[in-house]
Amino acid sequence: MLRFACRNLFRRPIRLLLAGSGIAVSVAVWIVLSAFGDGYRQALGGELQRAGMQMMLVPLGCPYDAAARVLQGRSLDISLPADAVDAVRADPDVAVAAPLLMAAMPRPSEGRTDLWVGLDRSALALKPWWRARRGRDWFDATNGVILGAETAAIELREPGDALHCPGIGATFRVEGVLERGGTADDALFFIPLATAQRTFHQEGRVTAVAIRLRDPARIREVAARLQRIPGAQVVTMTEMMGTFLNLVGTVRTLMLALAVVAMSTGVLGIFNTLLAAVVERTRELCLLRALGASRGQVFGLMTLEAAMLGAGGATAGVLLAFAVGHLVESLVKSYVPLPPAGSLVQIGPGLVARTLVLAALAGWVAALYPAWRASRLPPALPSGTP
């Protein structure tokens, strides 16, 4: 019966190709969009985990925009006074308060913007992955610079080389190149905080303060206290993740609606293909009944054809999802807030299995009416009945 169903499917190769492609595309869309949600949540969680802090003090304004910019190593137009750092460090529940100063240096001739970060040693407590691949892992001189792995590759610099920054007219000495961490830090230039404040004319000011608590359970109380620092506001990583996930969740709901539409299109494709096959093969199906096929066998034959069509299309869809996943990721990444450095489209075996089951179920449902109609055909002679 399997071979018979298979032969029937291949009877109209172009129709089979079109119906199968419809299912494949809908399954691929479904998988990529579902995988995007899961991947984004995991990657964002991982990114915030690697940030090594529970909260961040940023200048007044949109706290999430500010926090996102800091996490991405982008500069802020406004900054905090240096005494904000002292106020944070004075809090008894704060274990680490790492001031950061970010500055963007446009390089129009090369079509990019360099991001410079000034930091002091307290930042190392938040970056356990901070390791020098070559050279030193901290500054020996005030004009020292440590390069992220990607930055070093772009600048073609090694420890000991001079690095001239034309935008500010300063020359630095490369002291080390960091191991690749898979975060935004890979693309940054790190310099001592005091050097950054002087170089970028921000004496006594910082862009943000990254904070780690002694007891993360006291996050609410500490946030309430730090919120009172003038000109500053606190954003916790939990709030940040929740906000971004809510935002992405809304987008994801819309995307899932699209995926449902895509899947429905695939189901309608199976429905249409089978119904056309029943109409086209009416005489043959009547003949099969005459040759001894029961209604159940005809019903089974049609649903088997639908299952094979669905399974084939869904398998092609899974392969398509793997093939275009990264392309979709690169497109989507430019539209989401705080795009994490990790993969946003994670297609796991669980998702693939769930999708295949869903596709099989959808295919079966789509086949019910055409198969029922086929099974109700009466047995008849092929030459026609009165």
Binding site: F4, N8, A290, G292, A293, A380, L381, P382, S383, T385
Partner: protein, 229 residues
């Protein structure tokens, strides 16, 4: 031995029809396709059903093939009254006791000759035990078993259809114009095959316009306007 016989009473009947009628609605009218016919076909008989177009031959074949139910009278097939049978029981009766040969052969174009012949066995859930090969050799199509129907001549297609009709060892072979689409030489050859099968004990009822085939049959039922003439 060609006779026009309206009411024989064979000792071991495979078919017994009494007052068999079939009426179709056509708008407000009722069309009587069969009008109370009585006949019986004994085991091992070869009966030709002849008559002009519209005389009720195909309707009779549909009733004999359990593809339709009579609106009047009784019809017993292989000892069972078919009027009261459920759809499932009629399917089982077709599967176990009947073989069909059609004018247009009725081969499934996507299947090979061997697969076409095996089809009724597949529906009957009977294991392939060499019966398909045996029949293909018997009808001279063993070498063509892997060909598709469109690669066969008309005569070969009809022989494949005959092999398929025999694969479940039916007690009754029903043929609808089996030579209608064949040239005379091929038709003669198939008539020879029918004779051979009948000589082996198979009961055959063939609807035909072919004089040679009706001559080959042991008996003729002549239908005219739904009645036996």
């Amino acid at each position: 031995m060609n006779t026009i016989d309206r009411s024989p009473s064979p000792a071991d009947p495979v078919i017994v029809a009494a007052g068999l009628s079939k009426t179709y609605p056509r708008g407000r009218e009722q069309v009587r396709a069969l009008d109370g016919i009585d006949f019986a076909v004994g085991r091992g008989e070869f009966v030709a059903v002849v008559g002009p177009s519209g005389s009720g031959k195909t309707t009779l074949l549909n009733l004999l093939g359990c593809m339709d139910t009579p609106t009047g009278g009784t019809l017993r097939l292989a000892g069972r009254e078919i009027s009261g049978l459920s759809e499932t029981d009629r399917t089982l009766l077709r599967r176990r006791h009947l073989g069909f040969v059609f004018q247009h052969f009725g081969l499934v174009p996507t299947l090979t000759v061997a697969e076409n012949v095996a089809l009724p066995r597949l529906f009957a859930r009977r294991a392939e035990d060499g019966r398909v090969g045996e029949l293909l050799r018997q009808v001279g199509l063993w070498d063509r078993r892997d060909h598709r129907p469109h690669q066969l001549s008309g005569g070969e297609m009809q022989r494949a259809a005959i092999a398929r009709a025999l694969v479940n060892d039916p007690s009754l072979l029903l043929a609808d114009e089996p030579t209608g689409n064949l040239d005379s030489a091929t038709g003669e050859s198939d008539i020879g095959l029918f004779r051979q099968l009948n000589a082996g004990g198979l009961t055959i009822v063939a609807v035909t316009h072919n004089a040679a085939l009706s001559d080959a049959a042991g008996r003729r039922l002549h239908l005219r306007d739904g009645r036996l003439a």
